[in-house]
Amino acid sequence: MPIQARVLTGEHEKQQALSDLWKGVTQWRIWTALAMEDLRRRYHRAAIGLLWVTLSFCAFIVVKALVFNRFAGSLEFSFAIYLALGFLLWQFMNGVVTDGADVFVSASNWIKGVPMPLSTFVYQSIVRNLVVAGYSSLVIGMLLLYEGHALSWGALLALPALVVLVFTSIWVELLLGVVSARYRDVKHLIQTIMRILFFLTPVLWVPSVMGRLGEYTYWNPFANFIEIVRMPLLTGSVDSFHWIYVCLFSVLGAVVSVIVFMFSRHRIVYWI
């Protein structure tokens, strides 16, 4: 591997932040390994290991489907599938947001000890959450079979939606990671907000039967991200409003996040 001379000065900090993001991507071996290591540790000595994710997701869906059925009204699709998809996406986004608020602080051991791109830890966290979502999605597969729900070609629209979701997750973690490393209240604030937002996001209920709450729910970015994946899988089509919202949100957020990172990357090590 050729080694180039590395020059560090105060003036190069912004370029270094940009190259950090890219260098992190190229070192994919390290963040996939770290993510798998995290999961191995979390389910260490558990006989069925990661299948606990599937099992607890399954139990949650069964109970919630029975309890919240009455909020569904009359639907053209299965409420259980609606609920399972919504909760899967919520769980992923919630994981990304809460991990993001800790992403650099919890990696201080590495950041202070080894010269490596800081974005590594963002990618690590995304992979970890994706793997968990993958295990949960086994339940979706079983549910689709059980309910006899046939997917139409329109369901393929969920694929670009997932790409946008992962892209957004990256900048969300980057931004929250920086801000919460500097201001330690942010992590607690975010946990509180996420707990409230869960009830304001159409996961357990369907907007059309919730009156005012249903009308305002699409101000909430989480609701729109859920719809661009969930609607195509349920109905084969998706309202273009959700896509426009999501694209604007994603692009604007990415710009803000990268700018914040450019100005703060070199200081993060002192904050953690």
């Binding site: 020059v7 560090l8 000065t9 105060g10 010269p115």
Partner: protein, 256 residues
């Protein structure tokens, strides 16, 4: 060509959670003792100026020791050389693969086993998983930890963790080896072995920078020595001279 150059490097960092609140701009050090960097307060915020205007140039074959009291800036200087801290002013230029060994537990996954950590450090050094696994034998042999490598690192003693850390830092043919005082945690047999490994790396056109409170370690392994005080260069010169001066100053300091 391997080199490590510092030009007028200063590093100042903010301190949070300090009980000091000073509104006016002041600069002070720890009550006329050679401990710590200088503390600067500006607008109610405290900064520690850990390094101030350090200029250094090391080329292939250089062996530099760093001495100084607690908080004189030794670790900050090493981290700045490694690229972990970026200089507030001045510039750092490094050419070559950098190997680091800083304080206990840094750069390791504490709940992972020694074996897993070896794989991770291989991946960090740009190897594939297969290549990293191939490095295992050599590292295991050097650190002599045997079956302990299948135990989590947080069950290791300080000396054992140091053995693993040193073996990993030197296993991937670093051109620039940066070592913090921790090396003192090893027993004598391992220290001998570690010193031999350091010399090998320097002989292969590498650079060694070693910070330690163990003066004989510096004298035996370094050609030049930098004495830091309050983040500035107090003295720079041949290792035996600087070490002798530094020792005299600590002795007279103890007497007072």
């Amino acid at each position: 060509m391997t080199h490590l150059k510092l030009q007028d490097v200063s590093v100042a960092y903010p301190v949070f959670g300090s009980s000091r609140t000073t509104e006016t701009e002041v600069t002070e050090t720890a009550a006329n003792k050679p401990i710590g960097g200088s503390i600067r307060a500006r607008g109610g915020k405290n900064f520690v100026v850990a390094l101030e205007k350090i200029t250094l140039s090391l080329s292939a074959g250089s062996r530099l020791g760093i001495v100084g009291h607690n908080g004189a800036g030794k670790s900050t200087l090493l981290r700045t050389m490694a690229g972990i801290y970026s200089p507030t002013a001045g510039s750092v230029s490094v050419e070559g693969r950098v190997g680091t060994m800083f304080s206990t537990g840094l750069g390791m996954q504490a709940n992972a086993t020694g074996r897993e950590n070896i794989t991770l450090s291989g991946l960090l050094n740009g190897l594939t998983r297969k290549q990293a696994v191939e490095k295992y034998e050599g590292i295991a042999e050097f650190c002599e930890l045997g079956s302990y490598l299948d135990f989590p690192v947080n069950t290791y003693s300080r000396g054992m963790a140091m053995r693993l850390s040193f073996a990993m830092a030197t296993a991937f043919n670093p051109d620039v080896l940066l070592l913090d005082e921790w090396l003192g945690a090893g027993d004598q047999a391992f220290r001998k072995k570690a010193e031999a490994r350091m010399q090998e790396l320097v002989a292969a056109a590498g650079i060694l920078v070693l910070a330690s409170h163990r003066l004989p370690l510096i004298r035996n392994n370094c050609d030049d020595c930098l004495w830091l005080e309050h983040g500035t260069v107090k003295m720079f010169g041949p290792a035996h001279e600087v070490v002798a001066e530094f020792r005299d100053s600590t002795k007279s300091g103890d007497a007072s």
